[in-house]
């Protein structure tokens, strides 16, 4: 199973050496997801961290539209990108849903197994958590920016200064 190469390309595992990647690879479980298949939904307990191996994963949020509850795509992730990182951070509750946009392969890491590895190998834990902070920070900046634009639009649409 060629896990090592895929993990090395993931921003979450950047700066780990080959031995450390091998130790992480031993925890990885490959899973194939069919197009449109839901990987998890927002609000579920987060028990696994995922890394896209091939294909595309869509992060979604649920909205009530015309009486139906629909999943709206918020972001699309390609190979190497991690998702489901809520598994590593309390309160371990998934903040968004995820589904496959096409035939997709993912690596799954059980959060408790990762936690045990981080305790035995603190450097791996330190590197992964530092990389995770970058991923979370970037998502936060994106979310704030999108939210800011939407608020600005609301202000422009609702209130207008007198000519």
């Amino acid at each position: 199973m060629e896990v090592h190469g895929s993990l090395g390309h993931s921003p979450l595992f950047a700066a780990l050496n080959a031995t450390e990647c091998d130790e992480l690879s031993a925890l990885a479980e490959a899973r194939q997801v069919a197009p449109g298949e839901r990987i998890f939904r927002a609000g579920d307990p987060a028990s696994h961290l995922f890394v896209v191996r091939s294909g595309l994963v869509e992060l979604t949020m649920s909205l009530r539209v015309m009486g139906d509850v629909k999943d709206v795509r918020f972001q699309t992730l390609g190979p190497g990108h991690a998702f489901g990182w809520s598994a590593l951070v309390a309160p371990h509750r998934l903040t968004m849903g995820a589904r496959a946009a096409e035939p997709t392969g993912v690596w799954c890491f059980a959060a408790d197994a990762l936690g045990r590895l981080f305790e035995i190998k603190p450097r791996i834990g330190s590197v992964v958590m530092r990389n995770l902070m970058q991923v979370v920070s970037q998502r936060l900046v994106e979310a704030y920016a999108l939210w800011g634009r939407e608020l600005q639009r609301h202000v422009d649409d609702t209130w207008r200064s007198e000519p």
Binding site: K70, V72, Q138
Partner: protein, 103 residues
Amino acid sequence: MWIGVLIAVVAFGLAMLAVANLMPGFSFTHDEDPANKPIAVTQDPRVYGGHCVLCDAPIKRTAASSDDVVRELEHRIDRDTVVVAEWMDHPGQDPLERLHVVN
């Protein structure tokens, strides 16, 4: 005594007239207060004209189905995400305020 009653009735009538004369002025002041003005909703055709304000793609304001609405929401998120990604690639050249200038 009748003169006293007459004076009282006239005084009451004058007082009522004075209050009635003050009312328009009070109403005018009340209406002029910005806090009491009705909210002005834009009539900008770009907003309600059936086209995307970002890329001018046609938009169905009367959606046939919830899937239509989802497609348009995703289109809007995609367009905004491109702007945000461009800003994140060049944070020094584009100040944060640029993000909020939407059209």
